[in-house]
Symmetry: C2
Subunit: 421 residues, 2 copies
């Protein structure tokens, strides 16, 4: 047992939302209620920005019904931010807020930037002799955090993407035309995990099922090879299904398509991203018909098509963070997901140092990509398949999913307003 | 009771697929098995094109498991086409195929173009003294057929769109930035029914819920009004949620954005459709951040988020077609959906003349659109809400929906190949 540390806990969310980030929040709150060392359970609004502004809410005031509803509510319910703490006075301010509210436990749910922030706060507190336990909880649809087998949020996004591929593919096949290129653009700026996950749309023992071509940032993109790939597929079947991650790069690592960056005139002629780029190539050089769909934010918000496994693990990660801090007295760590060795998939939590995860990016291993550069082998499927297992059973009202909203009872401010410089 | 007509029946699908067009097919097959007047149950592959080519399959050979699975399998499982019968010799060929295979019942599942085709075939058979009963079954996500209260396929697409709006909106709200324009492009080239249906994402008694601005082809688009609309919303809340139908038109009825039509050079700089057009406008003139999602084909294929009501009605429409033809001896009609008068939603089937539906287009009534031109009033909600009621419970395999495939046992050809001129 660790030395007892009694005080309040603070939870915040950071970076892009996922369908399960609130499940981790529910895990933290539920577990925190089990420990007498934790007196008040506060939430910081809009990540570190809300902490700087002393914008805190009392999560223990929320109804049990609401906390339960967090388990199927997408979005970052506490609000999120992309603000990066850099200045010394900002770090000082965070510590001042923690001291004013007797925060002794800080749980930060986010990706690598967020874990970097948590790491800095943790080290600063230690330096100043302020007893504080900081535990990060992983979150990212991009699945690119090192030190964890996979990331909460990933299983749900690829379940939705693979489902969508299978559904669109049936439609494409119905059309029966011999020259249709169907392009689906998915997220993934730096790593191709989401695009790769679309391979799960293939039925077992049906390697020629769609998607036929998958373009990942891990493989340098060549327009000519793409055109050859499309022609090869269209010579054999009546449509070619392409999945492309938004971060398509050339041999030199430059992005080939940047959504919305170029605008020539009054709204005309602007690049629509990687999918539109591939459509342009196919239409212009192959005289085929090409159609795009771009799931955009919907893919990281589609709770209605979430993975129960992903959701359960996200909740478990939240609980594990509290146990690590309160029971084991850990700090400056992030919760990791560890896959069991057995044939049957199993997953438990572990811990890693925050600084180990802070600045790394995990790419799809090259050994999991086939030599053709546009498909994934069995090693990827073995890795990803268990993560999409199980369907969420979410409540509906008036025909659409029913999500919860927080009452957000504010914690009284004790400090002067922060001056942003 | 109608005069008894014994022979084979032929079913085909036409136009764009929906999530429930196969449910209508299942309804036809299931009901056909109840009537001794129907001997063989054939399917025509790829609509009228397969009939011209004498490309027929024996649907009675398919397993019961498969027919049951059609009820949740999106896409047009028999294949579809956009081919329009025009030439006299093509019509003659259709009749020759019908005669060769003793087709006495023809069920055509499709939109207004398809009903027009069915109408012509029906009239030609009568003219030539060939006893044939032709019944159309409505199908279109666009919901623009006249003479029917609503169209099979519509409820499911707006359930998915409204779900997606609610999910994306939560994500947008999380971000907490004051200048985000979130744009969702949906289908609907001529009528705004799908875009209008997104209003169902609003909670009851929460008129300010997203979507904040809905642009329909029924209201002429003005770029300046759009910019004013966006600014008005952003002055009150931290993001502006826009839904736009693909068929955005100006005062003169010209399309403002045509997906994929313009390509300037090697794949660069092409219009990505209405959503990208609105993004360009907002970014360039308001200095705000704008993000788009374009559901594309996924919206008419998303069986995993289909409406049980829509599905049940589609099945019922298929059954009704067979009953009308066999029991009532009707021909040259389309099945319609008729809404009951009571406070509680109810729906039964009726019949209308094929020629009444063949060339009409039903727009969203102007009286259902608020004076602001960008939102729908309670009359629309009252109309649309019952159509999205009930969630489909579809089977999954390996984490993705399990759809069925037909064995497609071919019917032996009896004629010489058709010569397309």
């Amino acid at each position: 047992m660790a030395e007892e540390l009694t005080g309040n806990c603070l939870i915040a969310q950071s970076g892009g939302p996922t369908t399960v980030i609130n499940s981790s929040l529910a895990g933290v709150i539920t577990e925190a209620l089990n420990h007498e060392e934790i007196e008040e359970i506060y939430g910081g609004l809009h990540g570190i920005l809300g902490i700087l502004k002393e914008d805190l809410v009392d999560l223990a005031e929320e109804s049990q019904q609401t906390i339960r509803g967090l388990r199927h509510t997408p979005s970052s319910i506490l609000g999120t931010c992309r603000f990066k703490l850099k200045k010394a006075q900002d770090f000082d301010r965070v510590l001042a807020v923690f001291k004013a509210h007797n925060i002794r436990y800080f749980f930060y749910i986010g990706g690598n930037d967020s874990q970097d922030t948590a790491d800095h706060i943790s080290k600063l507190a230690r330096e100043r002799g302020y007893p504080l336990r900081v535990i990060g909880i992983p979150k990212t649809v991009d699945n690119d955090l090192v030190a964890t087998d996979h990331c909460p949020g990933y299983g749900s996004v690829i379940k939705y993407v693979a489902t969508t591929v299978r559904e669109i593919a049936g439609d494409n096949e119905s059309m029966g035309q011999g020259d249709l290129v169907s392009i689906l653009e998915v997220m993934g700026r730096n790593a191709g995990w989401i695009a790769a996950g679309s391979t799960l749309a293939k039925r077992r023992e049906h390697p020629n099922d769609p998607p036929h071509l998958i373009y990942l940032p891990e493989v340098a993109f060549s327009p000519q090879k793409y055109l050859d790939d499309v022609q090869r597929i269209l010579s054999k079947r009546n449509y070619c299904f392409v999945v492309v991650g938004e971060g398509l790069v050339d041999q030199d690592g430059n992005y080939l398509a940047t959504a919305g960056a170029q605008t020539d005139s009054f709204g005309h002629a602007q690049l629509g991203g990687a999918g539109e780029y591939l459509r342009g190539l196919a239409q212009q050089h192959l005289s085929v018909k090409a159609r795009t769909a771009k799931l955009g934010i919907s893919q990281r918000a589609a709770a209605h098509c979430g993975s129960q496994t992903d959701n359960d693990e996200s909740f478990m990660a939240g609980q594990a963070a509290v146990k690590a801090a309160v029971v084991q007295g850990e700090t400056d760590k992030m919760v990791t997901l560890i896959r069991g060795d057995g044939d049957q998939y199993s997953c438990e939590t572990g811990l890693c140092d925050l600084e180990d995860v802070a600045n790394g990016v995990k790419m799809v291993p090259v050994s999991w990509i086939n030599d053709d550069g546009v498909s994934l082998n069995y090693q990827f499927t073995k890795y990803a398949l268990p993560l999409i297992s199980g369907e969420m059973n979410i409540p509906y009202e008036n025909g659409v999913p029913k999500f919860v909203h927080l009452d957000k009872i504010r914690v009284r401010r004790l400090l002067d307003p922060h001056v942003f410089e």
